[in-house]
């Protein structure tokens, strides 16, 4: 099938099998290997990307079904060598990146939560952050530092709004 997809701001045209999954196109077709494959069954969340703004598991989306949409992967958040996003920087400062394998998925999933909070001018509570993480599995150490990273990112974003 002929597919047209906007990935990280660039229009891409290619041919894909109807049974191809979005994560396979991103990694194998477009070389965007920041998106990981962990479980391959929709449980671990390492393959989370934004699809038309919403966080989704790219192993549970057909490339064909995503056609015509805008996809953002972790590579699309900041140019190579560019500054980290507020969430990425806060996760780094709170040691929330751990071994790093689950991090791209967490950044893409949590980005939606942080963006929503910024739009609404609110900050998520700790239970809300933990609930938002139910789709992202970390097998290293746990979630405390990740939760602190989100809290730091939301606080920095709120302070930025006040300064602005």
């Amino acid at each position: 099938m002929d597919i047209s997809l906007n990935v990280n701001g660039s229009d891409r045209q290619f041919s894909a099998e109807p049974g191809e999954l979005l994560v396979e196109r991103l990694r194998d077709g477009l070389g965007l290997t920041g998106t990981k494959v962990g479980c391959d069954t929709g449980q671990c969340g390492t393959c989370v990307v934004r699809l038309d703004g919403r966080s989704v598991k790219s192993c549970l989306v057909l490339t064909a079904s995503a056609a015509g949409s805008e996809v953002t992967t972790v590579e699309g958040l900041t140019p190579p060598g560019g500054e980290l996003t507020g969430l990425q920087e806060a996760l780094r400062q709170e040691h929330g990146t751990q071994c790093g394998f689950c991090t791209p998925g967490m950044v893409m999933a949590l980005g939606e939560l942080v963006d929503k909070a910024a739009q609404e001018g609110t900050a998520p509570t700790e239970p809300e952050i933990r609930e938002w993480l139910t789709g992202n599995l970390c097998r290293c150490t746990g979630y405390h530092s990740v939760v602190r990273g989100v809290q730091r990112a939301c606080a920095a974003s709120a302070a930025g709004r006040q300064d602005g």
């Binding site: 049974g19 191809e20 989704v56 549970l60 057909l62 064909a64 139910t134």
Partner: protein, 275 residues
């Protein structure tokens, strides 16, 4: 990659989708795909043609009908259902059940219709739809008809039909949903939904039972006793036949019957408090 031979089509409208479904062997409706795609990959399910209805305007959105119902398009994502102000105010058990499914990413793509039709999976929406006294709208080769959520949970959608909407009586806040989730799968060990109406309470349970069920005998016992205390609710559940509760890994029928009673009592207390 789905390794079996497969075609994909995005129909322009519902009529085209129905024609494709009627005219193609092995055709399946694809909406959010959050259950169907993993099943196609594992071989647990099969399809020769996927008819993608996710973007069909006729299947999306939440509106108030002239008769005071909420019409929830079948392709509405669970995340939208969980956050909709009208649903939260007028059918809170439905919003809570939508929010209880899976995780945020699954709720972003998973749809109301897919959740109601996830045969064999103890999803959370059917039990809330039954307690709410909801109906579903089905489009098929013979035209459109409605069925109750209870009938849908019992029999599924007829072959060749597409679930187009969920119709929920928007009767207000006196309703609640409670769930004990399996830690790994997020599916309910047991979930209960209740709605308090002028005619009494409606009680529905899933997870602990073979499928989402309305428990009319429990409702009758509660109405006869006029008492919704935890003890009264537990007694009403103890009077149910043990065979109603289907043990799973690490659970017994006795435990599930007790859990169903506890969750129902909690839901009734919350529903009464918000009435």
């Amino acid at each position: 990659m789905i390794l079996t031979e497969l075609d994909y089509v995005r129909p322009a409208g519902l009529d085209e989708a129905l024609a494709l479904l009627a005219g193609t062997r092995g055709a399946r409706v694809l909406a959010g795909g959050q259950s169907l795609l993993p099943d196609l990959r594992s071989g647990a399910d099969t399809a020769r043609l996927l008819i993608d209805v996710r973007r069909l305007a006729e299947l999306r959105g939440i509106t108030r009908t002239g008769t005071g119902e909420l019409r929830i398009g079948a392709a509405t994502p669970l995340a939208d259902l969980a956050a909709d102000p009208e649903v939260l105010a007028r059918a809170p058990e439905l919003a809570a059940a939508a929010r209880a499914n899976g995780d945020p990413q699954v709720r972003n793509l998973g749809t109301a219709g897919g959740n109601l039709l996830a045969a064999g999976r103890p999803t959370d929406l059917p039990v809330a739809a039954i307690a709410a006294g909801a109906r579903v709208e089905l489009a098929g080769p013979g035209g459109r008809r409605t069925a109750t959520a209870e009938e849908l949970a019992a029999a599924g959608a007829p072959p060749g039909s597409i679930l187009t909407a969920l119709l929920v009586p928007a009767t207000g806040p006196a309703a609640a949903f409670e769930k004990t989730a399996d830690r790994a799968t997020r599916y309910p060990v047991c979930a209960a939904a209740v709605r308090i109406t002028a005619d009494g309470v409606r009680v529905a349970v899933t997870g602990a039972t073979a499928r989402a069920l309305r428990l009319r005998d429990v409702e009758r016992r509660l109405a006869a006793g006029g008492d919704h205390s935890t003890e009264a609710v537990l007694a009403a559940f103890r009077a149910e036949p043990r065979s109603l509760f289907v043990p799973g890994p690490g659970t017994s029928a006795e435990y599930l019957g007790h859990l169903a009673g506890v969750l129902t009592a909690r839901a009734l207390a919350r529903a009464a408090a918000s009435a």
